[in-house]
Amino acid sequence: MTRSPVGTPVRRVEGRLKVTGAARYPADHNLSDLAHGYLVLSTIGRGTVRSMNVDPVRAAPGVLAVYTPFEPPPLEPPWAQDPTAGIGYLQFPMQDKEVRYHGQVIGMVVARTFEQARDAAALLEVTYQRRTPNASFADGVPHATQGRPPVDILAAGTGSIDEALARSEVTVTATYTQHPEHHNPMEPHATTAVWQGGHLTLYCGAQAPLLRALQVAPAVGVDPARVHVVSPHVGGGFGGKVVAYPQSVLAASAARELGRPVRVVVTREQLFTVTGHRPAFSQTVSLGADRHGRLNAIKHDAVSSGSVAGPYFGDPADWSRTVYRCPNIHLGARVVPLDVPPATIMRAPNEEPGSFALESAMDELAATLGVDPLALRTANYSTTHPGTGLPWSSKHLDECYRVGADRFGWHRRAAEPGTRVDGDWLVGMGMATLVYPAARFEMAMRVAFRRDGTADVAGATADPGTGMWTVLAVVGADSLGIPIHRIRPDLGDSALASSPLVPGMLAGAGGSTGTASAAPAVRAAAESAIRALRKHAVEHDRSPFHGLSVEDVHYRDGVLHAGRATATFGELLTATGTGRIEAVEATGQGDEVTRHAFASFGACFCEVRVNRWTREPRVARMTCVVDAGTIINTATARNQIVGGIVWGVGQALLEGARVDPASGRIANANLADYPIPVNADIPPVDVHFLSYPDTVFNPLGARGIGELSTAGSAAAIVNAVYDATGIRVRDLPVTMDKLLAR
């Protein structure tokens, strides 16, 4: 029998294409007659465009079109105009003369080459009627408005969360802040748009190809069925390629107007305001506990920055309903609407900030009580979902703690912070719990047996570096019992969606649902395809199994058997002269969600070194133990966990946009001034998977892992900095200037 590849390290099936440069990304489609659009951004933070002198731009070499608020590209209103959409844009570019934030798209120059478009765009003179932008998050926090109604989960007889806190023996309260963070994937957002006979093809990086089609179609006033999104490779998304940003709709609109393909590439600097970001947050957490550290109250009030130009805000307090057993929980979400670009989801959108706040507060509580931070976590272990009381489908977090502490050497942690020195470095250890809710979306997959002995496994999902190409191959191989190299995976194409889908449905890579959604659909489609194959075998008159009953024909590892007769599916289809036998199945969440709660869990341990003289913090090593059910491909799964930790290092020590309150301009909108971790910042990371299949969740037992290690790793680092220095930093990033006090 073919050995199942599930749970082994499998190389990315598309890896060779990528490392040889053969993989084609949206901006690699060099169609003939291609024109290039270059975006012009506002250089004020609030006001009105008064005039634009386009004459020198039009006269510049190669220029084909100049779009401005005075001569806008024709676009229908965006879908997010309905604020309940929760994400996206309230206005499309250039449809009015308002400037709502610094770096808003106020023009696009289309020329024969990218350089011509860029050079011509530099000639555009704009005059504005300026108004003072309201861009200071810190100033706005005291006046924040309600984002969603507060949630109070209170024990019987407790009137309010404050009452519960007042009744607690020990309380800690602190406020944690962080600046906006930016996705900045390796591949900047780009779209190449081509019209042919009323049909639009969009080559663009989309985390959900079908959703992209559904977003762009109404903007250009065509039926979604006429929009074909091609997105086989996405050079990183992290939430930032879920929404169709201006480049997609502008390329589509201009291409139709000009009657030729148009490509719009957002430059690295432009990404900061043209595409979304993670909001700024200010979170106040109060914990109430008894002397032994048993929690009695969690009060988590979060304030998120918002935008006047988009509906999205973050809800980090939500994380605190998923972690610890606690009879009284309050979760608040308020917003400060600002004259800044619309924010969006970004890897562990609520969990990243939420875990930083709660897991820092837990560390503060441990320090106040004088108990070990790990012991405090186990003392508050939840066997049911604290928010709903539903039992967890499968939870082995206790084992994560135990195994992680062991692998890491947690027992060597010093009793007092700021006491361990190794040469020029202060050494500290910190830990945090990782939790990320597990969900799956309705997803359709097609599995087809082919005459040449290979099998197609295809669906309209996406692979933004998550390893989905390989997941389809691995699960396909496992379900059909044939080697991986005989599976032909296909994804990243809206035309592969085999069932009608509704707007808002992700059907792609997002929310750590990709594998959990796709894998069961592949399994189901494979089972149906096998049934169809057996039926074909008995019904076709040139089949060696013709006339037998279906029950007598068995399929195993790519071969059909009935008594002595055997044939591979390739032989069968060759004999019957059939190209392919296929089946499509859609699977999704069922009523198990009414009986169980689902999440992936982990424990993260970290050693930080802080220079004893100049105080720059450096992460020395990390251990991460993960309980996420079946691990389908241990190689790409490890990538995800390490990648999520790299994000934690960025969040904890480096990242943050600095919005100039006077102008609304992001002072560090480039990758030199907005530091993200480089290789030298990333220590050896020890990743260990527990791999208990969660078959309540789905037949493969696989939960999501893409965001888990971003939901807590920053707190582990910040807690380790405290252990090294005795200094508690509550404002990210933790840079050396905040550690000079002692």
């Binding site: 530099a122 220079n611 100049t614 020590l653 006077a662 102008s663 560090n668 030199a672 030298a680």
Partner: protein
Amino acid sequence: MRPFEFAAPDSVRQALHQARDGSAYLAGGTTLVDLMKLDVMTPTLVLDLNALPLRGIRVDRHGLRLGALEPMSEVAANGLVATGYPMITKALLLSASPQLRNMATIGGNLLQRTRCGYFRDTASPCNKRAPGSGCPAIDGDNRTHAVLGTSAQCVATHASDLAVALVALDASVVIHGATGTRRMPVAELYLLPGVTPHQEHRLRPGEIIAEVVVPTLDWARRSTYVKVRDRSSFEFALTSAAVAVDLRHGVIEDVRVAAGGVGTTPWRLPAVERALRGRPMRTDVFEAAAMVASHGAKPLTHNAFKPELLRRTIVRALTSLAV
């Protein structure tokens, strides 16, 4: 980027001859091309220096001589430099990235422009880029800006690491110009911003840096360059210190101290040197001497930590030489 003419002279004479108002020399291009793309530098003629014979790393009776067109990576990999002047090697290896160091040259490094974000953004006012337009950094985002040598017109930091080491070592540059060849200490090459922040150095228009001469200094073998920054690599200095010590029987006979990341030019610290000379090589001595490093520092909203960080950087650098 604006359209421009391009020429590649094959001799210094020809280069000097072709230079004109609005021309710019191109070495590695890692500053020039970058700023041309941003529309910050707008030369009408680019003169490529790469065919000029301004190469070579050698030691003669004057000291160490570095050709202006030597890539940073070549100098960083040179054994003579590493043993004789470790602070130069370290300053180079802590600069930029390997890819950039392969392109960037010694001459270009000395004439690189500030990294001030307002200078690099043509939509912002900037007295250095557009004289008289104003300085948003003074009240704006200024965590990386200078605290020494600043003026009401400009607070931009000089970004070169190498220049800090060269200033500490009393190095000079050999300059070719229309009227002949001259030599100038690196410390004198740079101008304080004052009321003319757009004038950054004393080169006359069209002059070419031919080489850098580092005087012989035996005890520069005991030298180091410490660079402090948020991430471990590929970032400019928040503070840095180039330090050399002539240590005899535990006593600091002579010493050089210069600082980066804090000044509008590479910043030599003679007062710190005085406070160290003749004293024992001890942490309390270092700490007392470092106290004077930040005299006269003018912190801004976001860089108030720099004087303290500078003092600590100097102590750290000295401490590392004590072993």
